[in-house]
Amino acid sequence: MRKRGLLAAVLAMSLLAGCGSAGSAASAGGSSAASAGSASSTASSGASAASGDTVKVGLLHSLTGSMAISEEAVRDAEVLAIKQINADGGVLGKQIEYVEEDGESDPSTFATKAEKLIDEDQVATVFGCWTSASRKAVKPIFEDYDNLLWYPVQYEGMEDSDNIVYVGAAPNQQIVPAIQYLIDQGYKKYFLMGSDYVFPRTANEIIKAQLADAGLEVVGEEYADMDQTDFSSIISKIESSGCDVIINTLNGTGNVSFFKQMAEKNYTSDDYMTMSFSIAEEEVKTIGADILKGHLVSWNYYQTTDTPENEAFVKAYKEAYGQDRVTSDPVEAAYDAVYLWKAACEAANSTDVDDVLDAIHTGKISFKAPEGTITIDGDNQHCYKKVRIGKVNDQGLIDEVYATDDVVEPDPYLKNYAWASDVQPVES
């Protein structure tokens, strides 16, 4: 990871003249106040904020432990966005200086570090978290200190907080349409499989309700433990269930083991179609396109998404972190989050949390993102996003096979779905 940082530094320097050094100082040095501060002032010499006047933001991801596998890429995207923004003058003329903390894949550490960032480092806002566990652990802290968290990952919904902006998809922007798509495709027998934690369990409750409403059959429901390496018994259960599609909510490493072991048994997407909610381009890379090709996934963004913004984004990302790296939905969402915050600050003409929140509550904060324009909903602080169903191709990229014509309104509690009444939380 350090290596990457240095590599990034070298590339950035050669490519983006001065501000590269800001990036390098920051990304190689993860930013200690001094280095990034001084670097950024030299960086933007000539730009409006020559004074070296900066605004501090926090990055809070797992850089060690089991979750680092997923979260590193997201962090890289946030750093990239910060570097770009600094490169063209920063936020309200202020250079962004980021303070980075390691969540160590332990929600309690996330809580500690969140408090440290907000109260000790006095950051204006924090970009971070991946698992629902870490988000739930820091949520009350952001509320008590009245700070703002930008959460870049799709999640199970049933939540909204004044102090969190959810840039990833709500269930009705990923899970529900994906299931609808499968229903329309005429799949009859569904097998639900996920890692044994809260997102899959909640997601599956939603899916079961939706399928029940459509009068379709769930022929099996299985949960693998977090670091399970042998899936043979789950695969046997799939075989005997006679399902024709698998709804896969496994996370990270579980996916690798599962699909490799499906391939061991000569199964392809023709035998068992899968619809995955946690497989993005990175996972495809680690599992192998030869194994995954033809399988379905559901996101709001793919590296192949055809917009000029995306072209630029993918180019910048690869230049910064190496040609072998790929962009994915969470990566893009994390990248958007930084720009959305910038937009909010500019609308509020302040980086103060309350002003930023006021600006967000107008419901007019939006960003022309790689996935297309996304807008923050003024009430539940989720984003209006396009839904895209994709199919893995043999280059290991994901082709869009279906997309909503327009952005979908976020509905974290699935209030607009009659069948969801049972999965909605207790009114309190």
Binding site: I69, E71, T229, E239, V256, K265
Partner: protein, 301 residues
């Protein structure tokens, strides 16, 4: 019928995986009484070496010979982990003989370092090893499919078992090794270089882990956490089987493997983990000497 066969095969292959992962421990833990918590990281190293060898074949050799990367990787990862094992022995383990608990803790520190090293070198994201042609897919008989890879692992386990017992019982190195383990001073007085033997023994144990890692690479993700997924099961298996006893560990792995598969058949994996542990504890109640049988005249060693 087919479900029964499949279940049996699953049980067998899971057992073989566990056994393969723990076979190195039979040497380091069973014979040397060193609790190597970094054993899992040696699995990880084996897997990463496999990845590197594959990379080399992809980039520098014609596609025709690509499949050969795997046998090469087996050899290379054995060699690499052997050397690393020797280094580790010289630097750390050699200070820890007779201090079992301390060896457990110190090697855990080592495993922290090795994991971070993996992150530093290969990044946090997992890397992919593509199975060689002759190990992709499986052999279908009727409705049942036996994956070539699983069959290969079973063979590899049997092979390693034979190697180990041969080394221990036939080779002069094995004889010296057991001499040193039985009675260090006498062995030394007979002119055996015990420090060298220790080093080689530990290296051998680690190398077996590397070998295992090489085949685990085909089963799942290769990342800095690979080792952590196996370590607990490995140790409990060795303890269950009766430390230092090849046959015992084989039995142990079979118990763990089959009971896991069997319980998973009725519940979820997590419940299975819990239940299997309970089963093992219960078993140890009936047969604690499955854990240790010591015939030492010294009252406390």
């Amino acid at each position: 019928m087919s479900t029964i066969i499949t279940t049996m095969f699953n049980g067998l292959s899971l057992s073989s995986i566990i056994l393969l992962a723990s076979i190195g421990l039979i040497i380091t833990f069973g014979l040397m009484k060193v609790i190597n918590m970094a054993h899992g990281e040696f699995l990880m190293i084996g897997a990463y070496v496999t990845y590197l060898v594959q990379l080399f074949f992809q980039n520098f050799l014609p596609a025709a010979v690509f499949d050969l990367y795997y046998p090469v990787a087996l050899v290379v990862s054995f060699a690499v982990t052997f050397l690393l094992g020797c280094v580790l022995e010289k630097l750390v383990i050699s200070h820890l003989y007779g201090r079992e608990v301390d060896s457990l803790l110190a090697t855990w520190g080592i495993s922290l370092i090795l994991m971070q090293l993996a992150r530093t070198l290969f990044g946090t994201q997992g890397v992919n090893v593509q199975a060689p042609g002759f190990l992709t897919g499986g052999l279908s008989i009727g409705s049942v499919t036996f994956s070539y890879n699983r069959i290969f692992i079973i063979c590899l386990v049997i092979a390693s078992l034979i190697i180990v017992s041969a080394v221990l019982n036939k080779s002069s190195f094995g004889k010296q090794m057991r001499a040193v383990i039985d009675n260090r001073p006498i062995a030394q007085s007979m002119g055996i270089n015990s420090r060298r033997i220790d080093c080689l023994t530990f290296g051998f144990g680690s190398a077996l882990a590397g070998l295992a890692g090489c085949s685990l690479a085909l089963l799942g993700s290769i990342d800095s956490h690979l080792g952590q997924n196996y370590i607990v099961q490995c140790f409990i298996t060795v303890v269950l089987g009766g430390v230092g006893n090849l046959a015992g560990v084989v039995i142990g792995s079979l118990i763990v493997g089959f009971s896991t598969i069997w319980v998973q058949f009725y519940t979820s994996s997590n419940i299975a983990n819990a239940i299997v542990m309970v089963i093992i504890i219960a078993f140890l109640q009936v047969k604690p000497e499955g854990i240790f049988s010591r015939k030492s005249r010294a009252l406390d060693d």
